[in-house]
Amino acid sequence: MITKKICIIGDFAVGKTSLINRFVDNHFSEEYLTTVGVKLDTKELVTSTGTDIKLVIWDIAGADELTTAKRSYIDGASGYILVYDISRPKTLVSATNLQGSVVEEIGSVPFVLVGNKNDLEAKAPEPDADLIDKSCHQLKTSALTGDGVADVFQALAEAVVAG
Protein backbone atom coordinates (compact mmCIF):
# COMPACT_ATOMS: atom_id res chain seq x y z
CA MET A 1 0.00 0.00 0.00
CA ILE A 2 1.18 3.49 -0.77
CA THR A 3 0.35 6.54 1.30
CA LYS A 4 -0.35 9.96 -0.17
CA LYS A 5 -0.96 13.33 1.36
CA ILE A 6 -3.94 15.30 0.10
CA CYS A 7 -5.38 18.60 1.34
CA ILE A 8 -8.90 19.94 1.42
CA ILE A 9 -9.16 23.69 1.13
CA GLY A 10 -11.87 26.29 0.69
CA ASP A 11 -13.53 29.33 2.25
CA PHE A 12 -15.17 29.39 5.69
CA ALA A 13 -18.16 27.08 6.18
CA VAL A 14 -18.20 25.56 2.70
CA GLY A 15 -18.52 22.10 4.28
CA LYS A 16 -14.96 20.75 4.07
CA THR A 17 -15.00 19.04 7.46
CA SER A 18 -18.49 17.69 6.87
CA LEU A 19 -17.32 16.12 3.59
CA ILE A 20 -14.47 14.40 5.42
CA ASN A 21 -16.64 13.24 8.31
CA ARG A 22 -18.93 11.58 5.77
CA PHE A 23 -16.04 9.62 4.36
CA VAL A 24 -13.00 8.93 6.55
CA ASP A 25 -11.97 5.93 8.70
CA ASN A 26 -10.14 7.71 11.47
CA HIS A 27 -10.32 11.27 12.51
CA PHE A 28 -9.07 13.55 15.24
CA SER A 29 -11.16 15.99 17.20
CA GLU A 30 -12.30 19.06 15.30
CA GLU A 31 -10.83 21.19 18.07
CA TYR A 32 -7.51 20.93 16.24
CA LEU A 33 -8.95 23.11 13.48
CA THR A 34 -9.35 26.04 15.84
CA THR A 35 -6.09 25.42 17.72
CA VAL A 36 -3.50 24.23 15.23
CA GLY A 37 -5.45 25.21 12.10
CA VAL A 38 -5.43 21.74 10.61
CA LYS A 39 -7.08 18.38 11.26
CA LEU A 40 -5.81 15.01 10.10
CA ASP A 41 -7.86 12.10 8.84
CA THR A 42 -7.13 8.96 6.83
CA LYS A 43 -8.97 6.82 4.32
CA GLU A 44 -7.95 3.64 2.53
CA LEU A 45 -9.08 3.13 -1.06
CA VAL A 46 -8.47 0.84 -4.01
CA THR A 47 -8.12 2.50 -7.40
CA SER A 48 -9.60 1.16 -10.62
CA THR A 49 -6.15 -0.19 -11.50
CA GLY A 50 -6.08 -2.21 -8.27
CA THR A 51 -3.63 -0.02 -6.36
CA ASP A 52 -4.13 0.09 -2.60
CA ILE A 53 -3.78 3.66 -1.44
CA LYS A 54 -4.14 5.33 1.92
CA LEU A 55 -5.01 9.01 1.79
CA VAL A 56 -3.79 11.18 4.65
CA ILE A 57 -6.22 14.07 4.48
CA TRP A 58 -5.12 17.46 5.79
CA ASP A 59 -8.29 19.41 6.53
CA ILE A 60 -7.04 22.98 6.55
CA ALA A 61 -9.10 25.53 8.47
CA GLY A 62 -11.33 27.60 6.20
CA ALA A 63 -10.00 30.86 4.79
CA ASP A 64 -10.36 32.99 1.69
CA GLU A 65 -6.56 33.15 1.39
CA LEU A 66 -3.58 31.09 2.48
CA THR A 67 -1.61 32.38 5.45
CA THR A 68 2.04 31.47 5.95
CA ALA A 69 1.15 28.66 8.35
CA LYS A 70 -1.42 27.21 6.00
CA ARG A 71 0.99 27.36 3.10
CA SER A 72 3.39 25.18 5.08
CA TYR A 73 0.60 22.65 5.68
CA ILE A 74 0.13 22.23 1.93
CA ASP A 75 3.79 21.42 1.35
CA GLY A 76 4.34 17.91 0.01
CA ALA A 77 0.70 17.30 -1.00
CA SER A 78 0.12 15.01 -3.98
CA GLY A 79 -3.28 16.52 -4.69
CA TYR A 80 -6.08 18.56 -3.17
CA ILE A 81 -9.82 19.07 -3.05
CA LEU A 82 -10.94 22.63 -3.72
CA VAL A 83 -14.36 23.23 -2.20
CA TYR A 84 -16.88 26.02 -2.67
CA ASP A 85 -20.49 26.42 -1.54
CA ILE A 86 -22.89 26.55 -4.49
CA SER A 87 -25.29 28.67 -2.43
CA ARG A 88 -22.64 31.40 -1.82
CA PRO A 89 -21.06 32.93 -4.95
CA LYS A 90 -18.26 34.55 -2.91
CA THR A 91 -16.87 31.15 -1.99
CA LEU A 92 -16.25 30.37 -5.65
CA VAL A 93 -14.14 33.53 -5.96
CA SER A 94 -12.18 32.44 -2.88
CA ALA A 95 -11.69 28.97 -4.36
CA THR A 96 -10.24 30.48 -7.54
CA ASN A 97 -7.83 32.63 -5.51
CA LEU A 98 -6.85 29.73 -3.28
CA GLN A 99 -6.09 27.58 -6.32
CA GLY A 100 -3.64 30.22 -7.54
CA SER A 101 -1.95 30.33 -4.13
CA VAL A 102 -1.60 26.57 -4.01
CA VAL A 103 0.06 26.51 -7.43
CA GLU A 104 2.49 29.20 -6.22
CA GLU A 105 3.31 27.06 -3.21
CA ILE A 106 3.58 23.51 -4.53
CA GLY A 107 3.23 23.80 -8.29
CA SER A 108 0.70 22.00 -10.43
CA VAL A 109 -0.72 18.88 -8.78
CA PRO A 110 -4.10 17.21 -9.44
CA PHE A 111 -7.16 18.72 -7.79
CA VAL A 112 -10.88 18.08 -7.75
CA LEU A 113 -13.17 21.09 -7.87
CA VAL A 114 -16.17 20.49 -5.62
CA GLY A 115 -19.39 22.50 -5.45
CA ASN A 116 -20.78 21.45 -2.08
CA LYS A 117 -24.26 21.86 -0.54
CA ASN A 118 -25.93 20.52 -3.63
CA ASP A 119 -29.06 20.09 -1.53
CA LEU A 120 -29.48 23.90 -1.41
CA GLU A 121 -30.49 26.31 -4.15
CA ALA A 122 -27.54 27.08 -6.44
CA LYS A 123 -26.70 30.78 -6.43
CA ALA A 124 -23.07 30.63 -7.49
CA PRO A 125 -22.39 30.68 -11.24
CA GLU A 126 -20.61 27.83 -12.96
CA PRO A 127 -16.83 28.03 -12.36
CA ASP A 128 -14.65 29.65 -15.02
CA ALA A 129 -13.69 27.38 -17.86
CA ASP A 130 -10.04 28.01 -17.00
CA LEU A 131 -10.49 26.68 -13.47
CA ILE A 132 -12.44 23.66 -14.73
CA ASP A 133 -9.72 22.92 -17.28
CA LYS A 134 -7.04 22.99 -14.61
CA SER A 135 -8.97 20.58 -12.37
CA CYS A 136 -8.88 16.86 -12.99
CA HIS A 137 -12.57 16.58 -12.09
CA GLN A 138 -15.47 18.86 -11.29
CA LEU A 139 -18.17 17.44 -9.04
CA LYS A 140 -21.24 18.56 -7.10
CA THR A 141 -21.75 17.08 -3.66
CA SER A 142 -23.94 17.21 -0.60
CA ALA A 143 -22.26 16.46 2.70
CA LEU A 144 -25.76 16.46 4.21
CA THR A 145 -27.05 13.58 2.09
CA GLY A 146 -23.68 12.07 1.20
CA ASP A 147 -24.38 12.53 -2.50
CA GLY A 148 -21.18 12.41 -4.58
CA VAL A 149 -18.83 12.54 -1.54
CA ALA A 150 -17.11 9.19 -2.12
CA ASP A 151 -16.70 10.03 -5.83
CA VAL A 152 -14.62 13.09 -4.93
CA PHE A 153 -12.02 11.12 -2.96
CA GLN A 154 -12.03 8.26 -5.45
CA ALA A 155 -11.45 10.66 -8.35
CA LEU A 156 -8.56 12.36 -6.58
CA ALA A 157 -7.01 9.03 -5.58
CA GLU A 158 -7.12 7.89 -9.22
CA ALA A 159 -5.51 11.14 -10.37
CA VAL A 160 -2.80 11.01 -7.71
CA VAL A 161 -1.87 7.42 -8.52
CA ALA A 162 -1.88 8.18 -12.25
CA GLY A 163 0.66 10.89 -11.40
Binding site: I2, K4, K5, F28, G37, L40, V56, A69, D75, G76
Partner: protein, 407 residues
Protein backbone atom coordinates in the same frame (compact mmCIF):
# COMPACT_ATOMS: atom_id res chain seq x y z
CA UNK B 1 51.20 47.90 -85.83
CA UNK B 2 48.00 46.74 -84.40
CA UNK B 3 47.24 47.93 -80.85
CA UNK B 4 46.53 45.07 -78.44
CA UNK B 5 42.94 44.57 -77.24
CA UNK B 6 42.74 46.09 -73.73
CA UNK B 7 40.40 43.28 -72.46
CA UNK B 8 42.75 40.61 -73.72
CA UNK B 9 45.70 42.34 -72.15
CA UNK B 10 43.94 42.60 -68.79
CA UNK B 11 43.08 38.91 -68.94
CA UNK B 12 46.65 38.04 -69.72
CA UNK B 13 47.86 40.21 -66.83
CA UNK B 14 45.38 38.54 -64.45
CA UNK B 15 46.42 35.07 -65.52
CA UNK B 16 50.03 36.04 -65.13
CA UNK B 17 49.34 37.47 -61.65
CA UNK B 18 47.49 34.32 -60.58
CA UNK B 19 50.37 32.25 -61.86
CA UNK B 20 52.75 34.41 -59.88
CA UNK B 21 50.63 34.11 -56.73
CA UNK B 22 50.51 30.40 -57.11
CA UNK B 23 54.21 30.24 -57.60
CA UNK B 24 54.80 32.53 -54.68
CA UNK B 25 52.58 30.35 -52.50
CA UNK B 26 54.48 27.28 -53.60
CA UNK B 27 57.71 29.04 -52.85
CA UNK B 28 56.40 30.13 -49.45
CA UNK B 29 55.36 26.58 -48.67
CA UNK B 30 58.76 25.34 -49.60
CA UNK B 31 60.55 27.97 -47.56
CA UNK B 32 58.31 28.57 -44.46
CA UNK B 33 55.47 26.07 -44.87
CA UNK B 34 55.70 24.42 -41.46
CA UNK B 35 56.05 27.73 -39.56
CA UNK B 36 53.00 29.09 -41.34
CA UNK B 37 50.84 26.12 -40.40
CA UNK B 38 51.93 26.45 -36.84
CA UNK B 39 51.11 30.14 -36.89
CA UNK B 40 47.63 29.37 -38.23
CA UNK B 41 47.16 26.79 -35.48
CA UNK B 42 48.17 29.36 -32.84
CA UNK B 43 45.69 31.86 -34.28
CA UNK B 44 42.94 29.26 -34.18
CA UNK B 45 43.70 28.38 -30.58
CA UNK B 46 43.55 32.03 -29.56
CA UNK B 47 40.36 32.73 -31.47
CA UNK B 48 38.36 29.58 -30.52
CA UNK B 49 37.04 29.85 -26.94
CA UNK B 50 36.73 26.12 -26.23
CA UNK B 51 40.29 25.45 -27.37
CA UNK B 52 41.53 28.35 -25.26
CA UNK B 53 39.70 26.87 -22.22
CA UNK B 54 41.34 23.51 -22.79
CA UNK B 55 44.76 25.16 -22.95
CA UNK B 56 44.19 27.20 -19.82
CA UNK B 57 42.94 24.13 -17.95
CA UNK B 58 46.06 22.17 -18.83
CA UNK B 59 48.35 25.05 -17.92
CA UNK B 60 46.47 25.82 -14.70
CA UNK B 61 46.51 22.25 -13.43
CA UNK B 62 50.18 21.96 -14.24
CA UNK B 63 51.00 25.31 -12.65
CA UNK B 64 49.07 24.52 -9.43
CA UNK B 65 50.74 21.16 -9.09
CA UNK B 66 54.15 22.83 -9.30
CA UNK B 67 53.50 25.58 -6.75
CA UNK B 68 55.90 25.77 -3.84
CA UNK B 69 54.49 26.55 -0.33
CA UNK B 70 55.11 30.32 -0.64
CA UNK B 71 53.44 30.46 -4.02
CA UNK B 72 50.56 28.35 -2.72
CA UNK B 73 49.87 30.76 0.15
CA UNK B 74 49.92 33.69 -2.31
CA UNK B 75 47.44 31.95 -4.60
CA UNK B 76 45.19 31.06 -1.64
CA UNK B 77 45.31 34.65 -0.42
CA UNK B 78 44.07 35.87 -3.77
CA UNK B 79 41.44 33.16 -4.16
CA UNK B 80 40.06 33.27 -0.61
CA UNK B 81 37.95 36.39 -1.06
CA UNK B 82 36.51 35.03 -4.32
CA UNK B 83 35.77 31.68 -2.71
CA UNK B 84 34.15 33.34 0.32
CA UNK B 85 31.90 35.49 -1.85
CA UNK B 86 31.02 32.48 -3.97
CA UNK B 87 30.14 30.45 -0.86
CA UNK B 88 27.99 33.25 0.54
CA UNK B 89 26.08 33.50 -2.73
CA UNK B 90 25.62 29.76 -2.84
CA UNK B 91 24.24 29.67 0.73
CA UNK B 92 21.94 32.59 0.04
CA UNK B 93 20.59 30.98 -3.14
CA UNK B 94 20.21 27.43 -1.85
CA UNK B 95 20.65 27.04 1.93
CA UNK B 96 19.27 23.50 1.87
CA UNK B 97 22.11 22.36 -0.33
CA UNK B 98 24.72 23.63 2.11
CA UNK B 99 22.79 22.24 5.07
CA UNK B 100 22.89 18.86 3.44
CA UNK B 101 26.66 19.13 2.98
CA UNK B 102 27.53 20.24 6.50
CA UNK B 103 24.90 18.15 8.29
CA UNK B 104 27.11 15.07 8.79
CA UNK B 105 29.97 17.29 10.06
CA UNK B 106 28.11 19.75 12.26
CA UNK B 107 25.72 17.47 14.12
CA UNK B 108 28.37 15.20 15.67
CA UNK B 109 30.23 18.37 16.77
CA UNK B 110 27.07 19.81 18.32
CA UNK B 111 26.31 16.51 20.00
CA UNK B 112 29.84 16.43 21.39
CA UNK B 113 29.37 19.92 22.82
CA UNK B 114 26.06 18.94 24.38
CA UNK B 115 27.59 15.76 25.79
CA UNK B 116 30.44 17.77 27.34
CA UNK B 117 27.94 20.15 28.86
CA UNK B 118 25.91 17.28 30.27
CA UNK B 119 29.02 15.63 31.67
CA UNK B 120 29.93 18.78 33.55
CA UNK B 121 26.36 19.06 34.87
CA UNK B 122 26.54 15.46 36.05
CA UNK B 123 29.80 16.20 37.84
CA UNK B 124 28.14 19.08 39.67
CA UNK B 125 25.24 16.85 40.67
CA UNK B 126 27.76 14.23 41.72
CA UNK B 127 29.51 16.68 44.04
CA UNK B 128 26.18 17.77 45.47
CA UNK B 129 25.06 14.26 46.26
CA UNK B 130 28.39 13.19 47.64
CA UNK B 131 27.55 15.20 50.76
CA UNK B 132 24.27 13.31 51.26
CA UNK B 133 24.07 10.05 53.16
CA UNK B 134 21.25 7.54 53.28
CA UNK B 135 21.05 3.73 53.18
CA UNK B 136 19.92 3.90 49.57
CA UNK B 137 22.72 6.28 48.65
CA UNK B 138 25.23 3.93 50.27
CA UNK B 139 23.91 1.08 48.16
CA UNK B 140 24.16 3.20 44.99
CA UNK B 141 27.61 4.38 45.97
CA UNK B 142 28.73 0.75 46.23
CA UNK B 143 27.11 0.04 42.87
CA UNK B 144 28.93 3.03 41.33
CA UNK B 145 32.29 1.84 42.64
CA UNK B 146 31.58 -1.71 41.51
CA UNK B 147 30.59 -0.69 37.97
CA UNK B 148 33.16 2.10 37.58
CA UNK B 149 30.68 4.85 36.72
CA UNK B 150 30.02 8.09 38.56
CA UNK B 151 27.65 8.14 41.50
CA UNK B 152 25.47 10.75 39.75
CA UNK B 153 25.00 8.44 36.79
CA UNK B 154 23.92 5.58 39.03
CA UNK B 155 21.60 7.94 40.88
CA UNK B 156 19.96 9.09 37.65
CA UNK B 157 19.70 5.55 36.39
CA UNK B 158 17.94 4.40 39.54
CA UNK B 159 15.63 7.34 39.92
CA UNK B 160 14.67 7.90 36.28
CA UNK B 161 12.82 4.93 34.83
CA UNK B 162 11.46 5.32 31.32
CA UNK B 163 10.45 3.39 28.25
CA UNK B 164 10.22 4.25 24.56
CA UNK B 165 6.69 3.31 23.50
CA UNK B 166 6.72 4.29 19.82
CA UNK B 167 9.04 5.78 17.22
CA UNK B 168 7.90 7.51 14.03
CA UNK B 169 10.11 8.32 11.06
CA UNK B 170 8.33 11.17 9.28
CA UNK B 171 8.87 12.73 5.87
CA UNK B 172 9.89 16.28 6.66
CA UNK B 173 8.10 17.72 3.66
CA UNK B 174 4.73 15.95 3.58
CA UNK B 175 4.40 14.47 7.07
CA UNK B 176 3.91 11.01 5.57
CA UNK B 177 4.98 8.14 7.78
CA UNK B 178 8.13 6.47 6.47
CA UNK B 179 8.55 3.85 9.19
CA UNK B 180 6.96 3.11 12.55
CA UNK B 181 7.89 0.84 15.46
CA UNK B 182 5.89 0.30 18.63
CA UNK B 183 6.37 -1.52 21.92
CA UNK B 184 2.67 -1.28 22.70
CA UNK B 185 0.18 -4.04 22.11
CA UNK B 186 -3.47 -3.55 21.23
CA UNK B 187 -5.15 -0.90 19.14
CA UNK B 188 -3.51 2.48 18.78
CA UNK B 189 -4.41 5.68 17.02
CA UNK B 190 -3.83 5.59 13.26
CA UNK B 191 -0.06 6.02 12.98
CA UNK B 192 -0.28 7.81 9.62
CA UNK B 193 -2.57 10.45 11.10
CA UNK B 194 -0.38 10.76 14.21
CA UNK B 195 2.71 11.14 12.05
CA UNK B 196 1.09 13.94 10.05
CA UNK B 197 -0.12 15.58 13.25
CA UNK B 198 3.42 15.64 14.65
CA UNK B 199 4.61 17.55 11.58
CA UNK B 200 1.59 19.87 11.74
CA UNK B 201 2.32 20.69 15.39
CA UNK B 202 6.00 21.16 14.63
CA UNK B 203 5.19 23.61 11.84
CA UNK B 204 2.53 25.37 13.87
CA UNK B 205 4.93 25.97 16.76
CA UNK B 206 7.70 27.02 14.41
CA UNK B 207 5.47 29.45 12.53
CA UNK B 208 4.02 30.83 15.75
CA UNK B 209 7.07 31.27 17.92
CA UNK B 210 10.26 31.08 15.91
CA UNK B 211 11.54 33.40 13.22
CA UNK B 212 14.73 31.41 12.79
CA UNK B 213 15.26 27.79 11.95
CA UNK B 214 14.76 26.74 15.57
CA UNK B 215 13.06 23.40 15.66
CA UNK B 216 10.64 21.86 18.14
CA UNK B 217 12.52 19.21 20.09
CA UNK B 218 10.26 18.13 22.92
CA UNK B 219 6.54 18.03 23.64
CA UNK B 220 5.10 17.05 27.03
CA UNK B 221 1.74 15.24 27.05
CA UNK B 222 0.79 14.23 30.59
CA UNK B 223 3.24 11.57 31.69
CA UNK B 224 4.57 11.14 28.16
CA UNK B 225 7.24 13.07 26.32
CA UNK B 226 7.65 13.27 22.57
CA UNK B 227 11.23 13.87 21.43
CA UNK B 228 11.78 15.16 17.89
CA UNK B 229 15.12 14.77 16.14
CA UNK B 230 15.55 16.69 12.88
CA UNK B 231 17.41 15.62 9.74
CA UNK B 232 17.61 17.03 6.20
CA UNK B 233 14.79 14.82 4.89
CA UNK B 234 13.11 13.27 7.89
CA UNK B 235 12.01 13.75 11.49
CA UNK B 236 12.34 11.04 14.09
CA UNK B 237 9.70 11.31 16.82
CA UNK B 238 9.95 9.12 19.93
CA UNK B 239 7.09 8.79 22.39
CA UNK B 240 8.58 8.19 25.83
CA UNK B 241 6.85 7.29 29.08
CA UNK B 242 8.73 8.32 32.20
CA UNK B 243 11.81 10.48 32.51
CA UNK B 244 14.69 9.60 30.20
CA UNK B 245 18.28 10.67 30.84
CA UNK B 246 19.51 14.01 29.53
CA UNK B 247 21.39 12.44 26.62
CA UNK B 248 18.30 10.66 25.28
CA UNK B 249 17.69 13.16 22.46
CA UNK B 250 21.33 12.76 21.51
CA UNK B 251 20.75 9.02 21.05
CA UNK B 252 17.66 9.67 18.93
CA UNK B 253 19.59 12.20 16.83
CA UNK B 254 22.37 9.68 16.37
CA UNK B 255 19.87 7.07 15.16
CA UNK B 256 18.46 9.57 12.67
CA UNK B 257 21.95 10.28 11.37
CA UNK B 258 22.50 6.55 10.89
CA UNK B 259 19.24 6.32 8.95
CA UNK B 260 20.18 9.29 6.76
CA UNK B 261 23.58 7.82 6.08
CA UNK B 262 22.06 4.42 5.15
CA UNK B 263 19.27 5.61 2.84
CA UNK B 264 19.91 9.22 1.74
CA UNK B 265 18.33 8.96 -1.71
CA UNK B 266 15.31 6.90 -0.65
CA UNK B 267 14.54 9.42 2.09
CA UNK B 268 14.90 12.32 -0.30
CA UNK B 269 12.70 10.78 -3.00
CA UNK B 270 10.14 9.15 -0.67
CA UNK B 271 6.84 8.73 -2.52
CA UNK B 272 4.67 7.08 0.11
CA UNK B 273 5.79 3.47 -0.29
CA UNK B 274 6.98 2.36 3.14
CA UNK B 275 8.41 -0.91 1.81
CA UNK B 276 11.26 1.02 0.20
CA UNK B 277 12.53 1.84 3.70
CA UNK B 278 12.00 -1.56 5.31
CA UNK B 279 15.77 -1.94 5.77
CA UNK B 280 15.87 0.75 8.47
CA UNK B 281 13.23 -0.91 10.64
CA UNK B 282 15.81 -2.79 12.77
CA UNK B 283 17.68 0.47 13.42
CA UNK B 284 14.48 2.05 14.69
CA UNK B 285 13.61 -1.00 16.77
CA UNK B 286 16.79 -0.47 18.74
CA UNK B 287 15.23 2.73 20.07
CA UNK B 288 12.58 0.69 21.85
CA UNK B 289 15.31 -0.99 23.88
CA UNK B 290 16.65 2.32 25.20
CA UNK B 291 15.35 2.11 28.72
CA UNK B 292 16.46 1.55 32.31
CA UNK B 293 13.80 -0.47 34.02
CA UNK B 294 13.48 -3.44 36.35
CA UNK B 295 14.92 -5.75 33.70
CA UNK B 296 18.22 -3.91 33.72
CA UNK B 297 18.36 -3.87 37.49
CA UNK B 298 17.78 -7.62 37.45
CA UNK B 299 20.60 -8.08 34.98
CA UNK B 300 22.88 -6.27 37.40
CA UNK B 301 22.08 -8.86 40.06
CA UNK B 302 19.64 -6.72 42.01
CA UNK B 303 16.28 -8.43 41.66
CA UNK B 304 13.27 -7.16 43.56
CA UNK B 305 13.42 -10.07 46.04
CA UNK B 306 17.12 -9.59 46.65
CA UNK B 307 16.57 -5.89 47.21
CA UNK B 308 13.78 -6.53 49.73
CA UNK B 309 15.98 -9.13 51.51
CA UNK B 310 18.82 -6.64 51.73
CA UNK B 311 16.48 -4.02 53.13
CA UNK B 312 15.16 -6.42 55.80
CA UNK B 313 18.69 -7.48 56.76
CA UNK B 314 19.67 -3.82 57.06
CA UNK B 315 16.67 -3.13 59.31
CA UNK B 316 17.46 -6.17 61.49
CA UNK B 317 21.07 -5.07 61.75
CA UNK B 318 20.01 -1.60 62.77
CA UNK B 319 17.66 -3.00 65.43
CA UNK B 320 20.43 -5.21 66.81
CA UNK B 321 22.83 -2.29 66.94
CA UNK B 322 20.19 -0.16 68.66
CA UNK B 323 19.56 -2.91 71.26
CA UNK B 324 23.25 -3.36 71.98
CA UNK B 325 23.73 0.37 72.26
CA UNK B 326 20.77 0.65 74.64
CA UNK B 327 22.09 -2.22 76.77
CA UNK B 328 25.50 -0.62 76.90
CA UNK B 329 24.05 2.70 77.91
CA UNK B 330 21.88 1.05 80.61
CA UNK B 331 24.88 -0.83 82.06
CA UNK B 332 26.83 2.39 82.13
CA UNK B 333 24.06 4.12 84.03
CA UNK B 334 23.85 1.23 86.55
CA UNK B 335 27.61 1.44 87.10
CA UNK B 336 27.26 5.16 87.66
CA UNK B 337 24.39 4.51 90.12
CA UNK B 338 26.48 1.95 92.02
CA UNK B 339 29.35 4.40 92.18
CA UNK B 340 27.09 7.10 93.59
CA UNK B 341 25.66 4.68 96.19
CA UNK B 342 29.09 3.48 97.26
CA UNK B 343 30.30 7.04 97.63
CA UNK B 344 27.95 7.20 100.63
CA UNK B 345 29.84 5.92 103.70
CA UNK B 346 26.65 4.20 105.09
CA UNK B 347 26.02 2.09 101.97
CA UNK B 348 28.00 -0.66 100.29
CA UNK B 349 26.65 -2.21 97.05
CA UNK B 350 28.55 -5.33 96.13
CA UNK B 351 26.52 -6.91 93.28
CA UNK B 352 24.53 -5.80 90.21
CA UNK B 353 22.63 -8.40 88.17
CA UNK B 354 19.97 -8.19 85.46
CA UNK B 355 17.00 -10.55 85.68
CA UNK B 356 13.97 -10.43 83.39
CA UNK B 357 14.89 -6.97 82.20
CA UNK B 358 15.23 -5.60 85.76
CA UNK B 359 18.52 -4.70 87.40
CA UNK B 360 18.91 -6.03 90.96
CA UNK B 361 21.50 -4.25 93.09
CA UNK B 362 22.51 -6.02 96.30
CA UNK B 363 24.39 -4.54 99.21
CA UNK B 364 24.31 -3.44 102.82
CA UNK B 365 23.19 -0.22 104.54
CA UNK B 366 23.66 1.36 107.93
CA UNK B 367 20.12 2.47 108.87
CA UNK B 368 21.50 5.01 111.32
CA UNK B 369 23.09 6.95 108.44
CA UNK B 370 20.69 6.67 105.41
CA UNK B 371 17.40 5.26 104.13
CA UNK B 372 17.44 3.17 100.89
CA UNK B 373 14.43 4.92 99.43
CA UNK B 374 15.87 8.37 99.92
CA UNK B 375 19.17 7.41 98.40
CA UNK B 376 17.57 5.68 95.42
CA UNK B 377 15.40 8.67 94.73
CA UNK B 378 18.17 11.19 94.87
CA UNK B 379 20.81 9.20 92.98
CA UNK B 380 18.78 7.55 90.21
CA UNK B 381 15.67 9.55 89.40
CA UNK B 382 12.66 7.82 87.75
CA UNK B 383 14.33 4.46 87.15
CA UNK B 384 11.66 1.79 87.63
CA UNK B 385 13.78 -1.04 86.22
CA UNK B 386 16.28 -0.94 89.10
CA UNK B 387 15.55 -2.79 92.37
CA UNK B 388 17.77 -2.02 95.34
CA UNK B 389 18.15 -4.84 97.88
CA UNK B 390 20.15 -3.56 100.88
CA UNK B 391 20.62 -5.54 104.08
CA UNK B 392 20.53 -3.27 107.20
CA UNK B 393 23.68 -3.59 109.27
CA UNK B 394 25.42 -1.42 111.80
CA UNK B 395 28.79 -0.31 110.57
CA UNK B 396 31.49 -0.59 113.27
CA UNK B 397 34.12 1.10 111.21
CA UNK B 398 35.19 1.29 107.59
CA UNK B 399 35.31 -2.16 105.95
CA UNK B 400 33.43 -4.17 108.70
CA UNK B 401 29.76 -4.47 109.73
CA UNK B 402 27.35 -6.39 111.98
CA UNK B 403 24.18 -7.72 110.43
CA UNK B 404 21.29 -5.94 112.24
CA UNK B 405 18.26 -6.99 110.26
CA UNK B 406 17.20 -8.81 107.18
CA UNK B 407 15.42 -6.93 104.36
Amino acid sequence: MKNPDPKTSAALITDSKQQNDSDLETLQKLLVGIDREQAQDVFARVQQLDRRSDDIYEVLVDAVSKLNPDEQSKVMEHLSSVAATSLKTSIRNDPDNVTEIVYPIMLPAIRQAVADSMRSALERIDNMFKSKLSPQSIKWRIEAQRSGVSYAEVLLRNTMHYGVEQAFLIDKKSGLLMQHVSALSGSQKDEDAVSAMFLAIERFVKDSFSEDDDALQRVTIGERLVYLAHGPHALLACVVKGTPPADFLENVQSTLETIHAAEPDTLKEFSGDRDTLASINPVMSELLELDFDEKEEASDGFSDKATIGMQLAAIAGLLLLSYLWFQGMQGKRVDQYMHELNSNQHIQVYNAEKRGGIWELKGIIDPSGATPAGIAHSAFVNEPKVVLQLTPVRFLNAGTADVADSN
